[in-house]
Amino acid sequence: MSATVVEPGAGVVLQANKVTKAFGGLVAVKEVDLVIPPTSIVSLIGPNGAGKTTFFNVVAGILDPTSGDVTFRGHRVIARPVRAWFEPVVWVLPSVIVGVIAAIVYLATANADATAVVVLGAIGLLIVMFLAAIVRPGWYLRLLTAAGVFRSSRPNDMVKAGMGRTFQNIRLFANMTAQENVQVGMHTKMRANAADALLSTPRARAEERASVTKARDYLALVGLKGRAGELAKNLPYGDQRKLELARALASQPALLLLDEPTAGMNPRETAEMTQLIDRLRRDLGISILLIEHDMKVVMGISDRIYVLDHGELISQGSPQEVRSDPRVIEAYLGKPPT
């Protein structure tokens, strides 16, 4: 299958390359290499404070790494910003040029009105560039790439590229119904814009109807059938975790980042969640990066396990290899008495 690989990075969903994240003097994640092959479950384990969630946040585009980079589906999406100082220059350069033209016009013709028009043009350009810097349309990004400026993808860009995630402390839209939560998850898959909404175009209405049906399908998939109309905050804890998973699935991700999906669940719910995760990989072909403390879950479904301690990768391999690695045992239980 991998014999016909042509481009480097193909056949790998996500590749983290020496990712480091420091907060001031505290190095939370130190040179972590991690590879997620297609349709595999990769687990990230380690004691509390090992940097697992920080690594997640870097990969998901929430934090910029201090060094290293992340390649996702063949594109280098996350890295330390390069030549970021040049971006403000890109903002003002067009207006400066037009401003110089204004000066030339004034010196050549001494016509105040013509000069005023050109100056107004310069101000307009400045406004356009500022807005482009905020909204970041395609042409603006290409312009930056051409200028050699690199900035990491934002979280919503990562979702668009095919990455879904859940949070360690559940972050649902508490005052929206379960169905609306999932519909927000479909945001990148929907096309209706503000004008469609204002005019209530048939296309937008059809899309809206379809999204309701689909949202209910996702809810049924995670085991929340019939709870579509309930407010997220009124759901029991285990169901909130499931709802968060449904919301992440709604963006049809190629890779799911699950941050402790079974935390706070009882054994029966944990077993259900484990089964569900396994099904997602098997039936939908989604790759999964998992942070988990429940060793039964980790050892049961992982293809490969990475162990972090104090931000450093101390071990990696199949569940069996990691289980018998003395350094892992030491990190979890302390040094054996000698």
């Binding site: 559940i170 508490a174 609306e180 905050k233 429940d294």
Partner: protein, 397 residues
Amino acid sequence: MTARAGAAPGTNRGGFRAMRDRVSALAAGHRSTTIIVGWIIVATALPLLMLLPPFSTFQNQKLWIDGFANAGVFILLALGLNMVVGFAGLLDLGYAAFYAIGAYTYALAASPTLPWISLHVPFWPMLLVGAAVAAMFGILLGAPTLRLRGDYLAIVTLGFGEIVPAVFLNADKITNGTNGIGGVYKPDLLGYQFTLGNPLPYYIAMVAIIAVVMIFVYRLQDSRLGRAWMAVREDELAAASSGVNTVTTKLLAFALGASTAGLAGVFTAAKLTLVSPDQFSFAVSFTILAMVVLGGMGNVWGVAIGAFILYTIQSVVLKQLNPFFGEKGLNVPFLKDIDFVQYQFLLYGLALVLMMLLRPEGLFPSSRRKRELHTEQDENVGDELGPDPSSTPMEQT
């Protein structure tokens, strides 16, 4: 027989309830039609109602209609601010700035008294231009404040709300400064000229504008964008991690909210035929916010009614209280010496304090907001610190 007689009122009530349910289902299914029909009924009933005794004794019908047209401006403003504050959760204390921008846009384009320019652009296209210009400034205000939330955003918008009238005040070569721009052209429609003496055409135009805006607001609320606004209000990071582009979402909230204020501004300029900086003070921003809060943040009809009630109290009831208690009226010894209009903000303040204590969700809460404020005690979902520690497993070393 008795059983049937006893059952009859029950079935009648059941029939009534069924009919009411059917009507509300029909209304939900054809919302735009409902809004139009509703406004036609309200707009016809109000002037007729003002011919009846308790109201007709206050002032004549013409003054009432004039007052309603002015109230309509505030209904529009409240509908717009509701999008920013109620839907997207962005607290905007400088909303009157966009109102001012809309008003000055029309005044600059349609007044003969300006020192530097004399244009006469017709009113109706200027409605759209005013909305577009205000929307642009909404984006310009939104752009630098994207990272701010809550209190910090409120302070920045407060500053913006002060800057805009100050600019209009001090740019006196362009805007006539304190004197304002006078003689603004009144609208005309198919050869019919609106006049100051007859408020009815303004009233009808206002109702039409409000109905259209309301339809738009409802459509936005239930769209992909409306959900994104709510998601940003609930949890910005989670929204971004669900694929919502929080930047454009918030900018659109600012832009669409501001454009509604722009409409209101153009209308005001054309109705009063005078625009001056002191019409757009902080008090206006505050009043609109009070209307939104009073009416029920997030509920479209609620904020419209809230705006109507507050405006009527402010501009009609308070003014009528002076003659009412005065020497020609009841001649109450202490109350006849009070100028009630002066106590406008005292009464606002009192109303808001009582409101927050007794009915924090507003007079007509959106069903969502009501649940939000009244189920807080029942929930047990953990907080910022994470889930309830007693429920987390013990493996964590």
